[in-house]
């Protein structure tokens, strides 16, 4: 995040954005998720640039609304939220603090760096198990992938072979 905006002003806005949570995983703020890409203050206007996580994530519109509301409540009168798709969002931007909070909440955080290697062939990855995702309840690594698609676009469904509980995994993306 760069620009035109004085540091002090930016920090004030950041501390407000820190209070805007993901409506589907309320322990995570939009800063934890790495969704805020830029803050631009021009004349009277404050523009917050965000990037969606998954293309169809229904939380995106709610988040834009919540950002506006939070800033309006705090005296910013002319607020604009805009979107950017480049660079494409990745779980690599999730903060360590965010990962810790996810785990406490009962969702296994993304384990590896996302791999965006076009030479990696999907055909060679079929029926693969993601290795050793730690169960957020009993910390066992004896777990199994049930489905690559979970309760929201960003999660996969796993199960622990030791405590037998199913759990969500925030998949690398």
């Amino acid at each position: 995040m760069v620009n035109h905006t004085s540091l002090n002003q930016k920090e004030k806005i950041l501390s407000l954005l820190e209070q805007v949570a993901d409506p589907e995983i309320p322990v995570l703020t939009i800063l934890d998720l790495g969704m805020v890409r830029d803050i631009i203050c021009k004349d009277e206007e404050t523009e917050i640039v965000i990037t969606p996580t998954y293309s169809g994530c229904p939380a995106t519109d709610t988040i834009a609304f919540d950002i506006k509301l939070k800033l309006l409540e705090n005296g910013y009168t002319n607020v604009k939220v805009s979107y950017t798709l480049t660079p494409a969002w990745t779980t690599d931007w999730m903060t360590d603090k965010g990962k810790e909070k996810l785990k406490e909440y009962g969702i296994a955080p993304p384990k590896n760096k996302s791999v965006n290697d076009n030479s990696m062939r999907i055909q060679k990855m079929l029926f693969d198990q993601e290795d050793c995702i730690e169960c957020p309840r009993c910390q066992s690594t004896n777990t199994v992938l049930l489905s690559q698609f979970g309760s929201t676009a960003c999660k996969a469904l796993h199960q622990c072979n030791d405590c037998k509980e199913p759990f969500d995994y925030f998949k690398c993306h």
Binding site: P52, Y54, S55, G56, C57, P58, T84, L85, T86, P87, A88, W89, N116, N118, I122, Q123, M125, L126, F127, L146, S147, Q148, F149, G150, S151, A153, L157, H173
Partner: protein, 245 residues
């Protein structure tokens, strides 16, 4: 309308119509996890459609000097204006039909979007890059199902072979160029066939040969099924113009 607007609308319509078809599985999937899987894929497709519609709306608004919204493009155009590939509008049959269509579709979508990513139009390129991350999940999921059903029981093998007979004639359209297309689709055919064959070999399936290929969707000539989809999809906006959630 300019080639780039038409191309953008083709991709928007294509993602929307398959998304709408797949959404019919919501609460009807064979088991809960797979119900969630197909509806997640649907959500990605609708999200991709929105990105394309938003961009098309921006381009049309600029060139025609009036405000066109993404909703107007999705909800207020008629069959002849829709440019989706025909394979998307075919009615759902069974699970085998759905996973095989997704497999054909996503395997082509990946190749097409890898080209789109290199395009000089930065917004189309950005949408492609973002979508590719999602498409890879769709290919993995649908490939596994094609193998599972093809190499499964007699019943599952029969069903996926039946689906193959229905769907194959609609795969040729991927590679038949429309006059406005900004990406040359013909050269992608060889690569696509190789990626299909790789999975078919594992699934014990054989690609049909010398079959007449249907086309027309890209230029607005559709099967009788599209009108029914649109009447359901567009009902609310037609009956209550401007209605919002």
């Amino acid at each position: 309308m300019s080639p780039i607007i038409n191309q953008t609308l083709q991709l928007a319509d294509t993602c929307l119509i398959l998304g709408q078809r797949n959404s019919e599985w919501c609460a009807h999937g064979p088991i809960l996890e797979q119900d969630i899987a197909i509806t997640n894929i649907t959500l990605d497709l609708i999200g991709q459609a929105r990105h394309f519609y938003q961009y098309a709306a921006e381009l049309i608004s600029k060139s025609e000097n009036k405000t066109i919204t993404e909703d107007a493009l999705a909800y207020l155009r008629t069959e002849r204006a829709f440019k989706n590939w025909l394979i998307c509008e075919l009615p759902n049959e069974d699970w085998a039909h759905t996973v095989l269509r997704q497999f054909f579709f996503s395997s082509f979508q990946l190749l097409l979007f890898e080209e789109l990513e290199k395009n000089s139009d930065s917004q189309l390129s950005a949408i492609a890059t973002k979508s590719i991350k999602e498409i890879k999940y769709h290919i993995k999921w649908s490939s596994e199902w094609v193998i599972r059903l093809g190499d499964g029981t007699e019943e599952s093998n029969n069903r996926i072979n039946k689906a193959l007979q229905i769907l194959w004639p609609y795969t040729g359209e991927f590679f038949m160029p429309a006059d406005y297309e900004i990406i040359s689709v013909g050269p992608l055919q060889e690569k696509w066939l190789l990626s299909i064959k790789e999975i078919f070999d594992e699934a014990g399936l054989t690609m049909p040969e010398n079959i007449f290929m249907q086309s027309g969707g890209k230029s607005g000539i559709h099967t009788e099924h599209l009108g029914f989809i649109l009447s359901e999809l567009q009902y609310l906006q037609r009956a209550y113009p401007g209605a919002e959630w």
